[in-house]
């Protein structure tokens, strides 16, 4: 397949450094703006500031899972093994963002709704996404041979992807306690620019940071496998490992 691991090790480090710098600048601007220099909400007051972390984390966990499904699909059809490595590298970033989304959501829910948790369609499907991430890790580790494990994981990711549109439209298809979409919808945004601007900066910052960590993990995994391959070449008797 066109892009292989060697290409990645050559081309990615520079991109990764720039992602790190972008993340730093965006968060240095975004966090004070979000936490202090933006107004409170007329209805929710200061507690709405959790939005600036909760929303980018939610978007991130969904987008990363979608990216994982795409790389797994290409890996499956084109026998592109790097796709499996990308899937695994970004899985950890995705699961952490999912946890951040669930936890910040719960913290936000208590003062606003009056409860940490409800089993409505949005929260339940988001929890399911978290379990899919966990299931991916459990599955890939359960195989003796890493390559087979990653292939099985790819199938799980693709099958589980059906949950993503369910999460997105859960607030429209069913009555939920979670609010409907304020931004990603056909109508005009229901969120005022004074909130939207810091939100976008935070989203850029968290997205860059996520990509930064994902690419570092990817490079590490590729180097590990190359070292292992070299080791096995020199010591064929260790192939039983």
């Amino acid at each position: 397949m066109f892009i292989n691991s060697t290409h990645v090790l050559v081309g990615i480090p520079k991109i990764t450094r720039w992602l790190g710098r972008t993340a730093f600048v965006a968060l240095v601007i975004g966090l004070p703006w979000a936490l202090y220099y933006s107004p409170p909400d007329y209805q929710q007051g200061e507690t709405m500031r959790i939005l600036y972390v909760h929303v980018p984390a939610s978007w991130g966990s969904l987008l990363i899972y979608t990216g994982m499904a795409i790389t797994s699909g290409i890996a499956f059809v084109y026998r592109w093994f790097l796709g499996h490595l990308i899937t695994r590298a970004f899985a950890l970033v995705g699961v952490i963002l999912a946890v951040i989304s669930l936890v910040t959501g719960a913290i936000w829910g208590l003062p606003t709704w009056g409860t940490w948790w409800v089993w409505d369609a949005r929260l339940t499907s988001m929890l399911l996404l978290f379990f899919l991430y966990l299931g991916y890790f459990a599955l890939i580790r359960s195989y003796t041979y890493e390559d087979k494990g990653l292939q099985a994981g790819g199938i799980l990711v693709m099958v589980g992807w059906v949950n993503v549109p369910i999460i997105k439209w859960s607030v429209d298809w069913w009555h939920t306690l979670h609010q409907p979409a304020s931004l990603l919808r056909l109508a005009k945004p229901a969120i005022h620019p004074q909130f939207l601007m810091p939100l976008l900066v935070m989203a850029i910052g968290m997205a860059s940071l996520s990509l930064y960590f994902g690419f570092i993990r990817l490079q590490t995994h590729i180097r590990e496998r190359k070292l292992l391959a070299e080791h096995l070449r020199q010591r064929p008797e260790n192939l039983a490992v």
């Binding site: 107004p39 007329y42 929710q44 939005l51 606003t112 409505d120 298809w173 609010q179 409907p180």
Partner: protein
């Protein structure tokens, strides 16, 4: 065809079948997946079962008598009177969303849980005051 084309077609075919299957299941479970029923739909539910009711708090309907809270939930088509004793979230106000859990008894909904539901609008207080002054505020 090549092995690759075969894999691609397999993926697409299974994918469509699977998504179709999940869609069918979700569609058939519609009633059961609702987090709450609206006042209009309440009359169609079996009497005496524990369920959740959601809607807007009718302006002017909130009454507090000591520990007891009484108000009316509306979806602009039907109304239900609710009686609740317990902690009330800050966001519970007239004209705002509410979800209550309990049992309908003698046309009064006896609630054991009360949750406030907020809409998707985010506005600074200054903008809200300005709109109210201009008479353009929609609660």
């Amino acid at each position: 065809m090549t092995a690759r084309q075969h894999r691609l077609r397999f993926l697409i075919f299974v994918g469509i079948l699977f998504v179709g299957g999940v869609g069918l299941i979700l569609w058939s479970l519609q009633e059961n997946l609702l987090y709450f029923v609206t006042p209009q739909a309440l009359s169609q539910q079996k009497a005496g079962i524990h369920l959740r009711l959601g809607g807007l708090v009718q302006p002017g309907s909130i009454q507090r008598l000591g520990q007891d809270l009484v108000f009316v939930v509306t979806d602009e088509v039907a109304t239900v009177t609710v009686h609740y004793v317990g902690i009330v979230p800050d966001l519970f106000r007239e004209g705002q969303g509410v979800v209550v859990e309990g049992i309908l008894k003698n046309n009064i909904f006896e609630a054991t849980v009360l949750l406030a539901k907020h809409d998707e609008r985010y506005l600074p207080p200054t903008v809200v005051s300005a709109l109210k002054e201009k008479g353009q505020w929609r609660p």
